[in-house]
């Protein structure tokens, strides 16, 4: 392990956590550190990848020395600003209580999950299809070729006489993950699947740390936050996406969860720093995977809705079904502009085809969520939580808008599979669970937050914005 490789890990941690601390304040408790480091590391990794983009056809050996020389001072500067500007620590010392033996057992189980995933990553050459065919093809080409070459369309590549342009079936996919992979790989000095896979393991750890920390700072009791963290870390399909590293879905899932949790903190505290962090995570979504744009639109819409004055919300609520119904009618009547635009995303107005396939698609989706080994009893737990804690949902305007976003997200997945040719991926199980995975951590955080005990202070004096939002929440 070289000095450069250590720097490659420290740079995103320093940069990302510095930005998170700058936006959300100096961490003081274990939970705040977990949130800052977890969220910060993911943010930092993506920023390191993005920082390479403007540098052109860079030699791979120069990536980390050149980029880290800029980013490390930025990270240090952010932390220096945070530490110098922070108010003196006036927090009361935390009450130390021992963990229940059952919680220790859950942590031991999580450690066993972690060991299995880590050892699998270190040993196995790149295995899953999209890892070597799509997401990690570019960094391998860059690493072995020695330069960060530009990937272009087929015709441009065929006509290119320089030999410095490359192409691939997935040449137009976002390159951020590929750039993150080349960041660590170039620092290691050779292409090694274990080195690249370790990024996904770090992502899993960051997801758990970030979720635990954010749930705690959102007033979920420690034991419940630990149970939620164990539940998230034990989900089999998430484990598989770490062990067989190389897919982009877990990145989208992490970004969505972190954006939602930061947004929740913004809604409940009214602090702009958390809102900025939520927006930052949301803006990263399209840079990771194409469907990230759709998540950005849905999340952005929900965020705008949450900021609206009550009168506008009423108007938005009244207009939403009209607009939705109008789009459907316009599509079925083949209105210009609307119909061709929806045709492009594969929507079909052939109701006979829809009716023929819909039952099988819905059945396959339900099987993937409720009857296969992918999610343990997660979706049953969500249903039970909603049934038992519906009162908490009604009482919390912030949770209601988060629930609205998740509902719209589920609606998007439903429409994608039932109304488009993507249904065949659901019937063959090849996509339905991976797309569901993208929303699972955010859904789990939402369900966990419904188990908060009401805080006397918060119930008595809600934040002004939430007090304003309460009467007209969804």
């Amino acid at each position: 392990m070289s000095f450069t490789y250590v720097i490659a890990w420290l740079t995103p941690l320093l940069l990302g956590s510095g930005i998170v601390a700058l936006l959300t304040g100096r961490p003081r408790t274990f939970a705040e550190y977990a949130a800052t480091l977890g969220c910060g590391f993911v943010l930092g990794m993506l920023l390191c990848g993005l920082a390479m983009a403007p540098l052109g056809r860079l030699e791979v050996d120069r990536i980390v020395p050149m980029v880290a020389a800029i980013l490390i001072p930025v990270g240090l500067g952010a932390w220096a600003w945070v530490l110098l500007r922070a108010a003196p620590n006036v927090a009361t010392p935390p009450q130390r209580t021992h963990l229940h033996p059952l919680l220790w057992a859950l942590l031991a189980l999580l450690a066993l999950h972690a060991w299995l995933m880590f050892d699998e990553i270190l040993l196995r050459p790149m295995y899953p299809w999209d890892a070597w065919a799509a997401w990690l093809l570019k960094p391998k080409a860059w690493m072995l070729g020695g330069h960060v070459d530009r990937f272009v369309g087929f015709d441009e590549w065929l006509a290119d006489a320089s030999g410095k342009l490359r192409t691939a079936q997935t040449w137009s996919y976002p390159e951020t993950l590929g750039r993150v992979a080349i960041w660590f790989s170039s620092a290691w000095g050779e292409w090694n699947a274990g080195v690249v896979g370790a990024i996904w393991f770090a992502l899993w750890l960051a997801l758990l740390a970030g979720c635990y920390g954010q749930l705690r700072t959102l007033r979920l009791q420690r034991d419940r936050a630990l149970v939620a963290t164990y539940a998230l870390g034990s989900l089999p399909l998430i484990n598989v996406h770490v062990a067989l590293a190389g897919y982009a879905d877990l990145w989208i899932a992490t970004l969505l969860a972190f954006a939602c949790l930061a947004w929740m903190r913004a809604l409940e505290t009214g602090e702009r720093g958390h809102a900025a962090l939520a927006v930052l995570f949301a803006l990263m979504l399209p840079l990771v995977k194409l469907e990230g744009s759709i998540w950005l639109v849905i999340l952005g819409g929900a965020m705008i809705y949450a900021r609206m004055p009550p009168r506008f919300r009423r108007i938005a609520l009244a207009l939403a079904p009209l607009v939705g119904g109008g789009v459907v009618v316009a599509y079925l009547l083949r209105f210009p502009l609307v119909a061709p635009a929806l045709d492009r995303i594969g929507l079909t107005a052939d109701t006979e085809v829809l009716m023929t396939h819909a039952p099988a698609v819905i059945g396959a989706a339900a099987e993937g969520l409720f009857a296969q080994y992918n999610w343990h009893l997660f979706w049953f737990a969500v249903a039970l939580t909603l049934a038992l804690r519906f009162g908490e949902l009604r009482a919390s305007p912030a949770l209601r808008v988060l629930g609205l976003f998740l509902l719209l997200g589920c609606g998007f997945l439903f429409a994608l599979f039932v109304l488009t040719p993507a249904g065949k991926w659901a019937e063959s199980y090849t996509a339905v669970n991976r797309l569901s995975l993208q929303i699972v951590p955010a859904m789990l955080a939402f369900a966990a937050l419904l188990w908060r005990e009401p805080s006397v202070a918060v119930v008595a004096t809600p934040a002004p914005r939430m007090a304003e939002a309460a009467p007209t929440g969804p």
Partner: protein, 436 residues
Amino acid sequence: MIRRHLSSPFLLDSRVAAPSGGAQASDGAANIRRPALSHRARAFALLLLLVGLWTGLLGWVAEVPLGAAFQPAERMRFVGSDFHVVMGAGIENDKRLGINAVGAAHMALQSIALARPIDAAAYPVLRYRWQDFPRTLELSFVFRRADQPDDVHTVTLPPAAAHPGYFDLSDVADWHGRITEIGFAEFPTAQLVPADIAFRPFSLVEAELWTRSWRGSLGALGTDWSAYRPWALMSVSALGPDAPWPHKPTPVLLLAIGLTASLVIASLVLARGARWLGIALCLALAGGWLALDLRWLGEFTDRHLLTRELYAGKSWRERATIEPDTALVAGAARVRELLARAPAGTHVIVAAAAVYDVLRLSYHLLPANVAPMGVLSPSNANGKPMQPALLVVYADPDWTFDAARKALSYAKSEYAAELVYDEGDLRIFSIRGAAP
């Protein structure tokens, strides 16, 4: 009024009507005894209901027919040495058949011709037992039907560990009519284990065909739930369907339905409120989650053991060469030898009949400036500008070369080309654009 019956072994609350004033004194003794009896009766009724519920659920997920006996009425047993080796090499060892080599295409096959054809529907359960069956191999059951004597039907089986495995043949559409021959085939797990290092010796101990019974159906369910499931390309998309044999309903479904129904019944029989039911459901869900997680950790460990078997203790450079697609790796090495004599940045286009082969070969050829065959649209064959390139054609007879005209054809397109290399599945052409 809520009364706590401390005498109950279950220490449960029950809601009872408040007694009227006059009867209270005279019926005092009866009042003390009656609820206790009632409570025992309720507990007994609950026990019966739960036993009935779980028996019914297990019967449903195991697909046990109504009226089936617990033990099979008939068993047709074959010891390992009854089978003869069709492919590979084997030796009789006591009553077992030891397989110590594979045959063509890295495959081993053992079979037995039945003295009298049997009715498939009468024997829907297969019980099989192996010794030292390796994780590197995939196990299949093969059979021949009287109505199609020239066809061999194949179905993948859950690999057998140290214990006997059971398989429900009624899940196999082809298992019908009169069966004349049965057997087993073993070959390297596709797209996971390199074929040339997959084989380890193992023994066939015995195989049995059973008539329908609770024991056979529950055995098939247990085997499906607990058998080793190797990693597959499908694993990142769905766990369950990634195993290549017909499946039974999962314990996820059984636990969800069983626990919910049990607690709803318990709350009704024991006259518990919604709060009790909510707490009980949460506890049951937590217990069910833990049970499923322990099962998943066992499955994950099983999968990981193969990874350790293949890759542990080796350097990255050694591990990188242990790829499941040995033939494609060899093909890529041959192309690289040719590319070593070509200018840097030479365009390489990969074509193959299977998409997997195109993408995989492209990956193995890196850092060559490689592209999939999709770059060659018909417009390139119609004179659209393109730089000279090497076209690597792997196992795709649809590309035909006319040596006299030096023209390479595919679908309706034709390219000016020269054959550079041709051996086995691999052909390499130098192409210069549209054919003149």
